[in-house]
C-alpha cells in the first residue's frame, strides 16, 4: 500500500535584535516612506538543526547580499509597512498566494533554487522601539494533486559527502554528474538532491512540495526521485509519484505559527534592550531624520550634528542657544562665562535651578546640558574675556584668559557672541575673523534684538562693529544697576536665541534650496511684533574686521591685546578710524558757518 508523503514545518524563524536595529536605520536613513519590498538573505546552518526544523535567522547582515560565502543562503524579502494599520490590514492569504504563484513562475523559469524564498512583513514603531513582524516561507502544490511514496531507502555516507560542502541547497544528478537544478537539467536528470531543512525521520521539509510542483510541470514522468541529505544518519532517497492535476489552482501555505501554535504575527519590544543613553541618542536623531523623509530631504543633519559650538556668555541667550542647538542634534557645546548663577537667573535662564545659585555659570550650564542629554560633549570655562578699553589690572590672569579664549575659538567651528557688554564682543570678533570661524552675534534691547552672522573674507559682509566709527570702550564704569544689567522683556531672549540658531543651521546647509537663504542680520521689534532682514557691507576701517587689526593680533598676540585694553584709541589708529574721525571733524568744521548774528546753522 502506498503512503502519502508527509512534510515537516518549513522553518522556525529567529529574528535577532541586530536585524531590528538595521531595519530601523535603513527605514530612517534610506527607505524613509518607500514601502517597496527589500531583499534579504539568511545563512542557513544546516549542520546544527534543533527541534527537527531549520532555523531561519535574520541578523543585521541579512540585508547584505554578500553574506557569508561558505553558508547555504536563502533569499527573501522584507515588506515594511509605514503604519500599523496597513500592517494589520494586509490580506495575508492573498499575500502568500501571490508569492506562491510568483515562486512557481520563477521556479519554472530559473529552476528549483528560485522556487523557495521567505518573506517578512513588518512594521517598525521607531518611537517605542517595538517591531511587529510575521515571517512566511510559501509552500505550494496544485489543488487536487497529491504525492505518494513509492519507495524510500537510506543513503550511504559516501554519496552525501560529495555534495554536502556545496553552497546550494538544491541540485540534480544528470548522468552521474551533479548539476544545477535548472529547467534544462530537470528535464533529463535522474534525481534531485536537496539538503533537507527537516530532521524528522522519513519526513522532509514542506518546501519539497514546491520542488515537486515545479519539477512535475517541467518534466512529466512516472516517478520523481529526491535525495534528502542531512548531516546526521537520517538521509534518505524517496521515489515519489505525483497524482492528480499538477496544473490546477495553487494551494499555498507557509505563514509561521507563533509560540502558542496560532497563525498570528509576533512583536519584539526592544525599548529596554539598550542603554537608555543610547536610546536617547537614537530618539533625538529620529525626530530630526524625519525631516528628511518628506519636508527637507536634502537637509545636512550631519553637519549640524558634528559642529563644535562655543557659547560666549552663559546667560539667558547662552542657555536658550544651547538648548536650541541640542534640539538640532549638535553634540559639542562649550560654555564660557565669568560670573556665578545669581538668584534672579533660574527663572529666565533655562539651564539653571535654584540649587545652582552661587555656582560658576559656565560649569553649571554644561552640567545641566549633560543632565538633559548625557551624550553631549560639553565643558564650562570660567574666564573673563579681556575687554577693550578696560585697562589691564591683573596681567598674568588676563593673559591666561586670553590664551584660553584664543585656543577655544581655534578649536571650535562656530562662535556665539552672547555677552552683555558691547566691548566684550570685540576680542572674540577679531579672533573669530582671524581663525576664519563662523561668528553668530545676538544682542538684546528692552523690546528689540539683533541677530547677525559676521561676514567673512568671501562675502564682504560686515561684522557687529562695521557700522561704528569709534572703537568700543568701557561702558560699565559709573553706570547704575539698570544700565549695567540686561533689562529686557523676557520673551526677547527666546526670540533672539532661536533666530541665532536657526540662522546658523540655515547657513550650514549646502544650498539655499534646503532651508532658504541665511540673512546677514535680523532685527526684531517686539513693540510692533516686527522682524526686519538687513544686509550691511564690511567696513574697511572697522575696529574688529580691519586687516591691520587682524594681522597685528596674529603677529603680536597678547601684547596687542594688552595695548587695546589699556587704550582703545590704538585700535582706532590701527584700523584707520582715527583718520576717519579727523576727516569727519574737518568736514563738519568746513560745513559750519556763522551768520552775522553768530547763530549756528548747519547746511
Amino acid at each position: 500500500m502506498l503512503n502519502d508523503l508527509k512534510f515537516s514545518p518549513a522553518f522556525k524563524s529567529f529574528v535577532d535584535t541586530s536585524f531590528f536595529h538595521e531595519l530601523s536605520r535603513l527605514k530612517l536613513e534610506v527607505f524613509k516612506l518607500d514601502s517597496a519590498e527589500k531583499e534579504l538573505f539568511s545563512a542557513l546552518d544546516l549542520e546544527n538543526i534543533t527541534s527537527n526544523t531549520v532555523s531561519l535567522s535574520l541578523r543585521d547582515d541579512s540585508f547584505d547580499p554578500v553574506l557569508n560565502n561558505e553558508a547555504v543562503t536563502l533569499k527573501g524579502s522584507v515588506l515594511n509597512f509605514n503604519t500599523i494599520e496597513s500592517f494589520k490590514s494586509c490580506d495575508k492569504v492573498k499575500f502568500i498566494k501571490e508569492k506562491g504563484q510568483q515562486l512557481l513562475e520563477q521556479g519554472l523559469k530559473n529552476g528549483l533554487k528560485e522556487c523557495v524564498r521567505f518573506y517578512v512583513i513588518s512594521f517598525a514603531d521607531l518611537k517605542k522601539y517595538k517591531f511587529y513582524y510575521w515571517v512566511c516561507m510559501p509552500t505550494f502544490q496544485s489543488e487536487g494533486s497529491s504525492y505518494e511514496i513509492i519507495s524510500t531507502k537510506s543513503i550511504e555516507d559516501g554519496v552525501k559527502k560529495d555534495i554536502w560542502e556545496q553552497n546550494s541547497f538544491i541540485s540534480c544528478v544528470v548522468d552521474g554528474k551533479i548539476q544545477e537544478a535548472s529547467p534544462q537539467y530537470l528535464k533529463v536528470c535522474q534525481k534531485v538532491i536537496f539538503k533537507d531543512f527537516s530532521r524528522l525521520k522519513g519526513i522532509p521539509a514542506a518546501v519539497t512540495k514546491n520542488f515537486l510542483t515545479v519539477w512535475s510541470q517541467i518534466s512529466t514522468r512516472n516517478t520523481y526521485t529526491i535525495c534528502f541529505l542531512r548531516d546526521d544518519n537520517s538521509s534518505f532517497a524517496a521515489e515519489i509519484r505525483v497524482t492528480g492535476s499538477n496544473t490546477g489552482c495553487l494551494k499555498v501555505s507557509g505563514w509561521e505559527k507563533n509560540g502558542l501554535g496560532k497563525l498570528a504575527p509576533k512583536s519584539a519590544d526592544l525599548s529596554s534592550l539598550m542603554d537608555p543613553v543610547k536610546i536617547a541618542e537614537q530618539s533625538i536623531d529620529l525626530n530630526l531624520k524625519l525631516m528628511k523623509w518628506r519636508i527637507a530631504p536634502d537637509i545636512d543633519l550631519e553637519r549640524i550634528k558634528n559642529i563644535k559650538a562655543l557659547i560666549l556668555g552663559s546667560g539667558t541667550l547662552g542657555c536658550y542657544v544651547a538648548r536650541a542647538l541640542l534640539a538640532w542634534g549638535t553634540r559639542h557645546v562649550t560654555f564660557v562665562d565669568n560670573s556665578t548663577v545669581s538668584f534672579s537667573n533660574p527663572v529666565r535662564q533655562p539651564l539653571f535651578n535654584f540649587e545652582d545659585c552661587g555656582r560658576p555659570k559656565a560649569e553649571a550650564a554644561s552640567d545641566s546640558l549633560k543632565k538633559i542629554f548625557p551624550s553631549v560633549v560639553s565643558a564650562g570655562y570660567q574666564l573673563e574675556i579681556p575687554m577693550i578699553g578696560h585697562p589691564v589690572s591683573n596681567e598674568s590672569k588676563q593673559r591666561k584668559d586670553y590664551e584660553i579664549l584664543d585656543e577655544l575659538i581655534r578649536t571650535h567651528d562656530v562662535i556665539f557672541l552672547l555677552m552683555d557688554a558691547r566691548e566684550t564682543r570685540w576680542l572674540p570678533s577679531v579672533l573669530g575673523r582671524m581663525h576664519e570661524k563662523i561668528v553668530i552675534n545676538a544682542a538684546l534691547g528692552f523690546d528689540s534684538y539683533l541677530v547677525m552672522r559676521h561676514g567673512n573674507n568671501n562675502d564682504n559682509l560686515g561684522c557687529y562693529f562695521c557700522n561704528d566709527i569709534v572703537a568700543p570702550s568701557d561702558s560699565l564704569t559709573d553706570r547704575t544697576l539698570d544700565q549695567m544689567c540686561t533689562v529686557t522683556r523676557p520673551g526677547v531672549a527666546l526670540l533672539a536665541a532661536s533666530q541665532a540658531v536657526e540662522l546658523l543651521v540655515t547657513y550650514l546647509q549646502p544650498s539655499t534650496n534646503v532651508l532658504g537663504s541665511a540673512p546677514h542680520q535680523i532685527r526684531g521689534f517686539l513693540n510692533e511684533f516686527k522682524t526686519v532682514k538687513l544686509e550691511t557691507p564690511a567696513y574697511q576701517h572697522c575696529c574688529a574686521s580691519n586687516e591691520n587689526v587682524i594681522l597685528t593680533l596674529k603677529e603680536n598676540g597678547w601684547n596687542f591685546v594688552k595695548q587695546a585694553l589699556d587704550d582703545y584709541k590704538c585700535v582706532e589708529q590701527l584700523s584707520g578710524l582715527s583718520k576717519v574721525q579727523e576727516e569727519a571733524e574737518l568736514a563738519i568744521q568746513e560745513d559750519i558757518s556763522f551768520d552775522d548774528d553768530e547763530e549756528l546753522s548747519i547746511e
Binding site: 546552518d45 538543526i49 534543533t50 507563533n258 509560540g259 512583536s267 519584539a268 539598550m274 542603554d275
Partner: protein, 155 residues
C-alpha cells in the same frame, strides 16, 4: 587560557553537541572574520526563553558567555510579543542555577545592548588549561548554569 585558533577549531563540534540539547530551540554558528560566535536560544519556562551567546574573550583569552532573558506573552489580538526581562540577583537565581558563578549586567561596547555577563576570571581555575577538549570541559561546567542536567547530554 585557550588560543583563538583552538577556540575556533573546537566550537563547531560544541555547536553540534549543543544542538542535541533538548532545551535548545536554535543553535547557530556564526563565523565572523576573526572569532566564531555560537548563538543558542533555549526554552526555560513556558513564557520565558534565554538567548545566550558564546564568544571569545580576547583579553582573558578564554571562552565567554553572555545571555538575556526574553519574556513572551500573547496580546488581545493574538500577537505573540517578546520583551526583555531584567531581574534582581535573587530573582535570577530562581530561574537559573548560578551557584558560585557571578553575573553582572553590562552593555556591549559596540551595540550598547545590555546583556548579563557571566564572570570569566576564574575560567582556567575551573576547567584547567589543557587545550585539548577545553571547550567541552568548559560547556559541561558553564552551561549547567542554564541546565543542571546538561552533563547527561554530554555523555
Amino acid at each position: 587560557m585557550l588560543s583563538l585558533q583552538q577556540y575556533n577549531k573546537q566550537l563547531p563540534e560544541i555547536a553540534k553537541l549543543v544542538s542535541r540539547w533538548d532545551k535548545a530551540s536554535r543553535v547557530q554558528l556564526i563565523k565572523e572574520i576573526s572569532d566564531h560566535i555560537l548563538v543558542v536560544n533555549m526554552r526555560q519556562k513556558q513564557f520565558l526563553t534565554i538567548e545566550l551567546q558564546i564568544n571569545y574573550d580576547k583579553v582573558y583569552q578564554v571562552p565567554s558567555i553572555r545571555f538575556r532573558l526574553w519574556e513572551h506573552a500573547l496580546d488581545d489580538e493574538d500577537v505573540s510579543s517578546s520583551k526583555l526581562l531584567f531581574l534582581s540577583d535573587v530573582e535570577l537565581r530562581s530561574i537559573i542555577a548560578l551557584n558560585s558563578f557571578s553575573v553582572s549586567l553590562s552593555s556591549d561596547p559596540t551595540t550598547k545592548e545590555v546583556w548579563y555577563h557571566v564572570n570569566n576570571c576564574d575560567t582556567d581555575a575551573n576547567v584547567g588549561t589543557e587545550p585539548e577538549r577545553y571547550l567541552l570541559r568548559w560547556i559541561s561546567l558553564y552551561l549547567q548554569i542554564f541546565d543542571p542536567t546538561l552533563n547527561i547530554m554530554l555523555i
